[in-house]
């Protein structure tokens, strides 16, 4: 029997008696990395802290408008001596005005409940109507019952019919006649289109000197105001005498009077052979004879009187309401036109956004309207044809409150005295 090779001693040596004095590979690395990474993190934080840059704490991108605050959390989030997770309204109102929605509202949400920041570069406003319907679906107001619909659950559920303004205008206008087939124009028969008169404000409008390079003109959301020069003059010239090729100015009667006196005075100076006027070879029947001018002054007075009779009684009254002046030859008063541009004061509309829709599809009553006092704004049913949640699926044009409405009542806008916000 040979001796054993594996002795107990040898076996005992296999075990490192000092294993507890020295870290093994994984724990060693774990400890090492814990120290290094924590150190790096602390250095990183310290670095940003040293650079006074808070962007590392940001919950997401700021909107462009607030981009200049990037990293300076305290611009908005400071509270007392520290930094708060939420932003107090006072911080927003330091730069912005946020007029009250209604003085009768029972609760007012904080700015940030609707204007959610750190959600991306573009939008600061919440686009959902849920914030609106959280009150308006069961509306309670201070000081009695609400003066608006109390149960608006959505655009298609509970939204009342539109309340258009009454027309305060003093212009006589007949849409039906102007839109009829074979309308007689100065140079023959014409067919007018809506767009011949109703043009978006931005198109063809003079550039606004205060406008920016990208948008030098007024918005195209609404139609440009109707003006005599822009819409009426080409078919309704203010002719006043067959001898004259010029037309009278579209101004108040006093200005027209002065224009006529000047024109006829010049004319009679150039045509002295017209004086003194002799009775024309008109047929003799018992009728009061027409007055004859002996002097240039009389001639001017007679011609001005004729032209004014023609203008006041034929031309001006076609569109305007005139109150005759008191006394012979007194100038009439013309009622101000009072043309209204906006009819739904509670909501916004953008014609440009609806450019793909034919005018008549919404303003269907226009072609038959005979009175200027007809307000040709469509009702809610017309909007719901496209702006609906049912039946159209992906073809729905959307039904969010904020597509038409604004939360803040900007008629109550105040000027904000800008305070320094730490830029």
């Amino acid at each position: 029997m040979s001796s054993r090779i594996r002795t107990t001693k040898q076996l005992a040596r296999r075990i490192n008696k000092e294993y507890y004095q020295k870290l093994a590979l994984i724990p060693r690395w774990r400890r090492l990395l814990s120290l290094i990474l924590t150190g790096v993190a602390l250095i990183w934080v310290a670095w940003y802290a040293f650079a006074r840059d808070g962007s590392i704490y940001s919950a997401g991108s700021l909107t462009k408008a607030h981009a200049s605050f990037g990293g300076q959390c305290g611009s908005c989030h400071n509270q007392g001596t520290g930094i708060a997770r939420t932003v107090a309204d006072t911080r927003c109102l330091a730069c912005h005005d946020g007029p009250v929605h209604s003085v009768r509202q029972v609760s007012t949400p904080a700015c940030a409940e609707c204007h959610v920041e750190h959600q991306g570069r573009e939008a600061l406003m919440v686009s959902s109507g849920k914030m609106c319907t959280s009150c308006h679906s069961n509306l309670h107001t201070r000081g009695g019952a609400p003066n608006v619909a109390a149960a608006i659950r959505s655009f298609s559920d509970g939204h009342p019919e539109f309340h258009s303004l009454k027309d305060p205008g003093e212009i006589k206008f007949n849409h039906r006649v102007h839109l009829k087939k074979d309308l007689r124009g100065l140079a023959g028969l014409v067919q007018l289109q809506c767009g011949d008169c109703h043009r978006p404000a931005g198109i063809g409008a003079p550039a606004d000197p205060a406008g920016s390079v990208s948008s030098p003109r007024p918005s195209r959301a609404y139609m440009a105001p109707i003006t005599y020069a822009g819409q009426c003059a080409s078919c309704h010239p203010l002719e006043f005498d067959p001898r004259m090729t010029e037309v009278a100015p579209h101004k108040d009667p006093q200005a027209v009077h002065e224009f006529l006196v000047a024109k006829f005075s010049v004319y009679i100076q150039a045509h002295p052979e017209l004086l003194p006027e002799a009775a024309s070879a008109q047929r003799i029947v018992r009728r009061s004879p027409d007055p004859l001018a002996g002097s240039a002054r009389e001639w001017v007075l007679l011609r001005v009187a004729d032209s004014e009779r023609l203008l006041w009684t034929k031309t001006c009254v076609q569109c305007h309401r005139l109150t005759p002046g008191a006394g012979e030859g007194a100038l009439p008063r013309v009622a101000p036109a009072n043309l209204n541009a906006r009819w739904l004061k509670q909501a916004n509309f953008n014609h440009f956004a609806h450019a793909a829709v034919e005018c008549e599809r919404c303003h269907s009553a226009a072609a038959g309207s005979e009175r200027a006092s007809d307000v040709l704004i469509p009702g809610i049913a017309v909007c719901r044809e496209c702006h609906t949640t049912s039946g159209r699926g992906a073809a729905s044009a959307g039904t969010q409150c904020l597509e038409c409405h604004q939360y803040h009542d900007w008629t109550k806008e105040k000027d904000v005295r800008h305070s320094k916000v730490g830029l």
Binding site: K180, L189, P242, L310, K314, T315, Q318
Partner: protein, 431 residues
């Protein structure tokens, strides 16, 4: 005989109660004068030469015509005084407004409009609501408008009827002796002269070179018929209606017997002291008719003889006057309708002038209004004839006609002898 006269009364009342132009029977409603005056429509400042329609009608009406001022005169001094005398407010009374405005009830107004704009488009052209829109369209025919309520003013008879509905009166419009006493001018008319004085705002669509002479003859015929219808109406209400009688038989300055031309001429055909009929719508027309249509002239004379006698007799039975006038109106109506188609030749104008001059005594003797009618007719016929074939002594004739007008300028100073003499001299000037 009784059956016969009963038949006549029925016939007469039918005629009297069916005026040819009745605002209330025309279809459609009234849109008011402003509807026509747009510059592109009828309100241009000067005529458009490229169009059959002048398109400056509204401007002519506003600037040269007296019709737009018809309402305003109701409030002038004479109008106010008339109102005070008659106990009415002329600017509000329908008695005045029926002729002095486009006086239509609220339910006949297609839209609200001012009625104070005088005698306006629809007064003569009819209610426009049915044809205003379509009448500007491509392919529009004049005749379509007539079906839709437009009055047929291209038809000379229709035109004369429209004018005479106010310038003589109809069953809803009248100027009686009471109104004349209060200050209203008595009514007289001659289609061609009044058209020229208006002045016309149209180009005559008929290319007939003698359209003015034809119009004159039509005007004479229709005004006689309307006069007879008026007498027939009035005699049923109250007789004598003095406005039918010669004004100046009574309204003249009395002079010493030795200077009285009336007594010198005598009172042939009527009882002295009876005021004679104002036959001005007959005495000139019968002469015109004698030249244009001899048979008709004889028939007219036959049926007018009785009217003349009865109307010039204050003791006549009003029922008989009404009946005779209505019967004569049927003759006048039939003759008036022959006038638009009457044969006219190049010499007709001069023949008419000679014939009227040849009847100087009877026309001048029929009174001042007859003399005035003759002056207007001579003027119209002379102008129409001289336009076609100028005569060398046109100036001489023209000034002689002007002298005729001067002789009737002051009706009280009217002298039939000097008027007849002047008329005869005009006859002598015409070859």
């Amino acid at each position: 005989m009784r059956r016969h006269s009963a038949y006549l009364i029925v016939l007469a009342s039918l005629l009297v109660s069916t005026p040819v132009v009745s605002a209330d029977s025309a279809p459609g409603n009234y849109t008011g004068p402003g509807s026509c005056g747009s510059t592109s429509c009828h309100g241009g400042i000067r005529p458009r030469s490229d169009n059959a329609v002048l398109q400056n009608e509204f401007t002519t009406w506003t600037l040269q015509d007296k019709h737009p001022r018809a309402t305003a005169v109701l409030s002038n001094d004479v109008g106010k005084r008339m109102g005070a005398i008659l106990g009415i407010d002329p600017s509000q009374s329908s008695k005045c407004l029926v002729c002095h405005s486009l006086n239509v009830s609220q339910d006949r107004q297609a839209r609200t409009f001012e009625q104070g704009e005088g005698v306006s488009c629809e007064s003569c052209h009819g209610p426009a609501s049915n044809w205003l829109g379509p009448h500007t369209t491509r392919g529009w025919q004049y005749e379509k408008g007539l079906e839709l309520g437009m009055y047929d003013t291209r038809n000379l008879i229709g035109r004369a009827e429209v004018c005479l509905s106010c310038h003589l009166g109809d069953d809803t419009r009248s100027v009686d002796h009471e109104m004349i006493a209060a200050g209203h001018p008595d009514l007289y008319f001659e289609l061609d002269s009044f058209t020229a004085a208006m002045p016309p705002h149209w180009k005559e669509p008929d290319k007939d070179p003698w359209i003015d002479v034809r119009a004159l003859a039509v005007g004479q015929g229709v005004q006689l018929r309307e006069n007879l219808r008026r007498i027939s109406r009035e005699a049923k209400q109250f007789w004598p209606e003095y406005s039918e009688l010669d004004c100046f038989a009574c309204h003249h300055n009395l002079v010493a017997a030795k200077d009285s031309w009336r007594q010198a001429r005598g009172y042939p055909g009527r009882r002295p002291g009876n005021p004679p009929w104002n036959s001005s719508r007959y005495v000139v027309f019968r002469v015109i008719l004698g030249q244009l249509d001899r048979d008709s002239a004889a028939r007219l004379d036959a049926s007018l003889k009785r009217v003349d006698e009865l109307v010039s007799d204050v003791r006549a039975d009003p029922a008989k006057i009404s009946q005779a006038a209505a019967l004569a109106a049927t003759t006048a109506d039939e003759i008036a309708h022959r006038m638009p188609g009457i044969q006219v030749d190049a010499s007709v104008g001069w023949r008419l002038i000679k014939a009227i001059a040849a009847n100087s005594d009877s026309i001048a003797g029929a009174g001042e209004r007859s003399a005035e009618q003759a002056a207007m007719v001579l003027d119209s016929v002379f102008l129409a004839s001289n336009r076609r074939a100028r005569v060398g002594n046109a100036e001489q004739i023209g000034s002689a006609i002007s002298a005729l007008f001067q002789l009737v300028e002051n009706p009280s100073a009217y002298n039939p002898n000097s008027f007849a003499q002047k008329m005869r001299s005009i006859g002598a000037m015409v070859q």
